[in-house]
Amino acid sequence: MASTEDKAAKQESATGWKDSFYNPRTGEVLGRTGSSWALILLFYLVFYCFLAGMFALTMWVLLLTLDDYVPKYRDRVPYPGLVIRPNSLDLSFNKSDPLKYVQYVKHLESFLQRYNDSQQDKNDDCPPGEYFLQDDTEDMSKKACLFKRGFLSLCSGLSDTNFGYSEGKPCVLLKMNRIIGLKPRGDPYINCTVKRDTPIQMQYFPSEGRIDKKYFPYYGKKAHESYVQPLVAVELLLTKDDYNKELPVECRVEGSDLRNNDERDKFLGRVTFRVTVVE
């Protein structure tokens, strides 16, 4: 008795299951007739169009309130991060195998394209040691101070196209992140150390790793089209003893009010990278 009941129930559920997709008797697809589907879809269409319109309207209002030149809030980026080029935190190469370091060299070369004389000659040679303020000018577009590749001397890639990589004395370029309106106080300079007992020789370009105040403040992408960030190059003058070892190098921005010891953000005003040169 129970088994026949079960069977009947099973059959019913099977047809019910099929019917839920398409019911030939009522012409229902997924439980609705064509007109029912049309009505509900129309309803949702109107509903969603209205919502989309609402969203578009609020977004439009938002965009109206925004300034083209300066973001509304800059408090989330009070201090610049410090970044190195080549863009790798683990520089590892064989100094006698060009294939191993060619990527770094290429990267540096392409990065320095914007600092070529041909580009920088258009920029002003502003007086060093003071901010290059242009707030009072009527014109929205601002002038930029020139920073030539030549300032980087040995690490400019002009004299040594291999940036010292072939000699086992690699150059690393450091740059501070662009932040609109940032005016560092004091005399910021970059200082790198190797985290081990015996220090290694390093050479900074421009001298002492100074970052001149004349490159600040930054006025934003739109106003300050030809702006280039000041760079500092560090050449690690490695000796034979330093090869085949992993050297942890830490660089910091010193001598100014820029933060370089944030607990959480390991790239705020400082950067740590590793260098391994194989002979």
């Binding site: 949702y44 969203f55 973001p71 992140n177 959480r264």
Partner: protein, 1024 residues
């Protein structure tokens, strides 16, 4: 969370599941069990045979050695408690039931992903999602466990912890021992007030009466004697049953059954062996969990595959999977449901409905049939004088509990005489020390009818004790079954009158036989045929009302024959017992409770069928049924129609009669179809003289017709039906332990009217749970859309896992719970009970409203509000929407620390992550803001908020609490580390306001349309 009923019964039912016998056969099995209940044959044996069987002695009792031997053989004399589930199993059930499995999977996957990350990278992301998920599951599990434990603790208070004592005779000495140590063959002695320690074959008795009501439902105490009066052990006089009470007198007997072998034990075992279905709400919730789980797994896997296809690493894909599962599961919902049910249970407890099983709260609301016991539930369980016949007229006495009813003319001299007879010829008396209590509440020593008379006289004529003192009793013949009357002789009040007053009461026809005159308007008149016929009519009429009628007569004995100091001999009657003067009749009934007729009426208007199931006689049952409205005025039974038309019962079309009084013996011969026929075709049914198994059949019959059945009962005999019912309601005062054990709910005041308030609460909570779920689900669904956009459009993640949990378990909880306090929108007691097949807690419309919105991905007010806030924050910090699309890969790259925004600024990883988490916080706050409007919307399903008002204080508190919590999570120092939530600028709080307003207006319009066009398209498509 526990979806079953009390777990203790689950285990017991497992054996039943093994044999998959068809239902009917199982019913038969139960019946067999019940029939096996009476293998007792000792009542037919002589006392010597019984002694021989148990190797005991009628005087000396068992020897101590023998008793010890038997105790080891048979075990202690106690009912085996129903097997209970160990606490840890209950706890694990909470921990791994429902959505927990999904969340556990999420937590484990998350942990694995983290472990792999930790193994492959030096500096793994400090991801605490798995810890949070685990904490969530454990905390909600613990919460539900303690909620359940709390409600089961209530039961423990009912357990009688005081060990019962029994007086046994062993080796000729009377010893008081623990009732558990009583063994078969023990000679025990019981006296009035004792509980019978085991099933006993009575060997000697002195005026012993026992109250078998908990076993058989008979409210009258039964006398016990050593003679076998009936073949059926339940009916015979010489057996007293375990756990019944000895009301008066003393008896001595031999123990024949102990513990589980007793009649009571067998019923208890049968009860715990009965299989019970899941409660309707448990089914609903299970249904809901299935839907949600299905959708979560489906969406999760779809996006897992999609992510792999889109070229994400499998690790990332797993994280998406977890995100989608977490977003999909309304983590807080089950806890909300539990809390809502608990709150209602508490509210019901205040109204004298104690709920043992949380889910029963709602079951009561969906009840469509109530099978109610009569005695004690519908009636006051107290014999009360209802009518009197004197002066050739029927007078109605006040039977209400608070004496608010109509009274009759008390000035008649006949009444004074009648009252005097009733007071004097009466052995009942008030127990001492109750003078300050109202008369009706006082305890009385004596049998039920005499107490009724005592109270009636005390109420209308003042102190009976004083009256008895004035009329000293000089002789008395107590009631016996051969005489069928009781008689006493008293001195008169008048000190100068030396005559004696003889008063008599008894069965009316017997009393009338003794009379030759009758008192009418204070004058004695000869009892002629006319008056005899009047008496006969009155007697018939009162009997027809189901009342117990007593006749009263008196006579002043002539002084010349019976001078002062006459020695009345009651054994060899030496005085006049003929030619007395008939005074009147008094009839008694256990009257209905005052609130019951109203409650029955409410049930009827609420579409609930009330069926009376009683062990009492059909006439009494019918009278009470008519009195309380179970058989409503103007409705007739087949018999009534036959009597009215003066035709045989067989000629009446049963369809014409809406009401039906069904006798237990008839029920026995009915087939299943006939039974269904009765239940289907009669709206007003009374079952009289029913046995426990018949109660069970009635309940099963109702359930077969698709009804959700509530059963009330107090006796052990009711417990199988209580258990079988969808909701068993036991009586708190008169109920036996076994019935309380089997029930889901206990009425603390034994009042039927409390059930009706229970039904009201149950219906309300169902409606309100719908609202809570709608509220929770509408905020739950938009939580998925951020993930979808994150994966498909490659924008930074708008809403994180932790913030999702903050919404589900933090801000949404109190408002969702507060909806449980919402008042009803319309009179919920004026509509039909919900159809469990059609009317779902979560119907497809709710699901389609909720999920329909993800079809066109994020276009829903909650998500839009959140996304708007998200875009506002990113844009105001420098990342315009155009820059965002496709930025995800660099955005989430830890080694990219100079990501350029729209304005040319460069961001370190940590800096932009702070912005991202600020966005999560803002998204979260936006959902809270839209939820403000949502909770106000969800307050009503049909009415406008302006009609409903904002009287729900808890809801207003919920709004503030939700906002305060959101502000706390955003602004509390340290939250940036703990939950990665960051302070928002005040203006960001307002981003979602337009959406909040929009959703409110939309829903008001929708409800307006529903109200304007009932049953229209809008209602069909959007009413949940």
């Amino acid at each position: 969370m526990g979806y079953g009923r009390s777990d203790s019964y689950r285990v017991a039912t497992t054996q039943d599941k093994d044999d998959r016998s068809p239902k009917k056969k199982k019913g038969a099995k139960d019946m067999d069990d019940l029939k096996k209940e009476v293998p007792i044959t000792e009542h037919k044996m002589s006392i010597e045979e019984v002694c021989r069987k148990y190797q005991t002695d009628i005087v000396q009792g068992l020897t101590n050695a023998k008793a010890a031997e038997y105790l080891i053989r048979d075990g202690p004399n106690a009912l085996t408690p129903p097997p209970t589930t160990p606490e840890w199993v209950k706890f694990c059930r909470q921990l791994f039931g429902g959505f927990s499995v999904l969340l556990w999977t999420g937590a484990i996957l998350c942990f694995l992903a983290y472990a792999i990350q930790a193994a492959t990278e030096d500096d793994p992301a400090g991801d605490n999602v798995s810890i949070v998920l685990t904490a969530v599951v454990v905390i909600t599990g613990c919460f539900s466990y303690f909620q359940e434990a709390k409600s089961s603790k209530i039961m423990e208070s009912f357990k009688n912890m005081v060990p019962q004592q029994a007086l046994v005779i062993r080796e000729g000495e009377k010893v008081q021992i623990n009732a558990e140590e009583v063994v078969g063959g023990d000679l025990v002695e019981v006296k009035g007030g004792d509980r019978i320690p085991a099933d006993i074959r009575v060997v000697s008795a002195h005026g012993c009466k026992v109250d078998n009501s908990s076993l058989t439902g008979e409210s009258e105490p039964q006398s016990r004697s050593p003679d076998c009066t009936h073949d059926n052990p339940l009916e015979t006089r010489n057996i007293a049953f375990f756990s019944t009470n000895c009301v008066e007198g003393t008896a001595r007997g031999i123990v024949i059954c102990t513990g589980d072998n007793t009649v009571m034990g067998r019923i208890a075992t049968l009860t715990s062996g009965l299989e019970t279905g899941k409660t309707p709400i448990a089914k609903e919730i299970e249904h809901f969990i299935h839907i949600i789980t299905g959708v979560a797994v489906f969406l999760g896997l779809t996006f897992f595959i999609l992510a792999i296809v889109l070229g994400y690493s499998w690790l990332e894909a797993v994280i998406f999977l977890i995100g989608i599962i977490v977003a999909n599961v309304p983590e807080g919902l089950l806890a909300t449901v539990t809390v809502c049910l608990t709150l209602t249970a508490k509210r019901m407890a205040k109204k004298n409905c104690l709920v043992k099983n949380l889910e029963a709260v709602e079951t009561l609301g969906s009840t469509s049939t109530i099978c109610s016991d009569k005695t004690g539930t519908l009636t006051q369980n107290r014999m009360t004088v209802a009518h009197m016949w004197f002066d050739n007229q029927i007078h109605e006495a006040d039977t209400t509990e608070d004496q608010s009813g109509a009274s009759f003319d008390k000035s008649s001299i006949t009444w004074i005489s009648l009252a005097r007879v009733a007071a004097l010829c009466n052995r009942a008396q008030f127990k001492a020390g109750q003078d300050q209590l109202p008369i009706l509440k006082r305890d009385v020593a004596g049998d039920a009818s005499e107490s009724a008379l005592l109270k009636c006289i005390e109420l209308s004529c003042g102190s009976v004790r004083a009256m008895r003192d004035r009329n000293k009793k000089v002789a008395e013949i107590p009631f016996n079954s051969t005489n069928k009357y009781q008689l006493s002789v008293h001195e008169t009040e008048d000190l100068n009158d030396n005559r004696y007053l003889l008063v008599m009461k008894g069965a009316p026809e017997r009393v009338l036989e003794c009379c030759s005159t009758i008192l009418v308007q204070g004058k004695e008149q000869p009892l002629d045929e006319e008056l005899k016929e009047a008496f006969q009519n009155a007697y018939m009429e009162l009997g027809g009302l189901g009342e117990r009628v007593l006749g009263f007569c008196h006579v002043l004995l002539p002084e010349d024959q019976y001078p002062k100091g006459f020695a009345f001999d009651t054994d060899d009657v030496n005085f006049q017992t003929k030619d007395l003067c008939f005074v009147g009749l008094m009839s008694m009934i256990d009257p209905p409770r005052a609130a019951v007729p109203d409650a029955v009426g409410k049930c009827r208007s609420a579409g609930i069928k009330v069926i009376m199931v009683t062990g009492d006689h059909p006439i009494t049952a019918k009278a009470i049924a008519k009195g309380v409205g179970i058989i409503s005025e103007g409705n007739e039974t087949v018999e009534d129609i036959a009597a009215r038309l003066n035709i045989p019962v067989s000629q009446v079309n049963p369809r014409d009669a809406k009401a039906c009084v069904c006798h237990g013996t008839d029920l026995k011969d009915l087939s299943q179809d006939q039974m269904d026929d009765i239940l289907r075709n009669h709206t007003e049914i009374v079952f009289a003289r029913t046995s426990p198994q018949q109660k069970l059949i009635i309940v099963e019959g109702c359930q077969r017709l698709g009804a959700i059945v509530a059963v009330t009962g107090d006796g052990v005999n009711d417990s199988p039906a209580l258990k079988k019912a969808d909701i068993g309601v036991a009586m708190g005062i008169s109920g036996s332990d076994v019935s309380k054990q089997a029930a889901d709910m206990i009425l603390l005041d034994d009042n039927f009217a409390s059930i009706v308030t229970g039904v009201e609460e149950g219906r309300l909570i169902f409606d309100n749970l719908k609202k809570s779920i709608a509220y929770t689900l509408t905020s739950n669904i938009p939580e998925i859309t951020p993930f979808l956009l994150f994966i498909i459009v490659n924008i930074p993640l708008p809403l994180g896992t932790i913030t999702i949990l903050c919404i589900d378990l933090g801000t949404d909880m109190v408002p969702a719970i507060s909806l449980a306090y919402e008042a009803a929108e319309s009179d919920i007691m004026k509509r039909q009970p919900r159809n469990p097949f059609r009317d779902k807690l979560v119907n497809e419309r709710l699901i389609s409203i909720a999920y329909g919105q993800i079809v066109i991905v994020c276009l829903n007010p909650h998500a839009l509000g959140g996304f708007f806030a998200y875009f506002v924050i990113l844009a105001e910090n420098g990342f315009l929407p155009t820059t965002l699309v496709g930025i995800r890969l660099n955005w989430d790259d830890r080694s990219c620390n100079d990501l350029e925004d729209t304005y040319g600024q460069q961001w370190t990883y940590e800096q932009r992550k702070i912005v991202e988490f600020t966005c999560h916080t803002a998204f979260f706050v936006s959902i809270v803001v839209v939820q403000w409007a949502d909770v106000i919307i969800c307050k009503t399903r049909r009415n406008s908020v302006f009609q409903q008002g904002m009287r729900n204080k808890i809801l207003i508190f919920g709004l503030f609490e939700e906002t305060a919590l959101a502000a706390f999570l955003s602004y509390c120092p340290g939250m940036d580390v703990a939950l990665r939530m960051y302070p928002l600028k005040p203006s960001w709080w307002f981003c979602a306001f337009p959406y909040s307003f929009l959703i409110f207006v939309y829903d008001e319009v929708r409800k307006l349309l529903i109200r304007r066009n009932p049953g229209g398209w809008v209602e069909r498509e959007t009413y949940y």
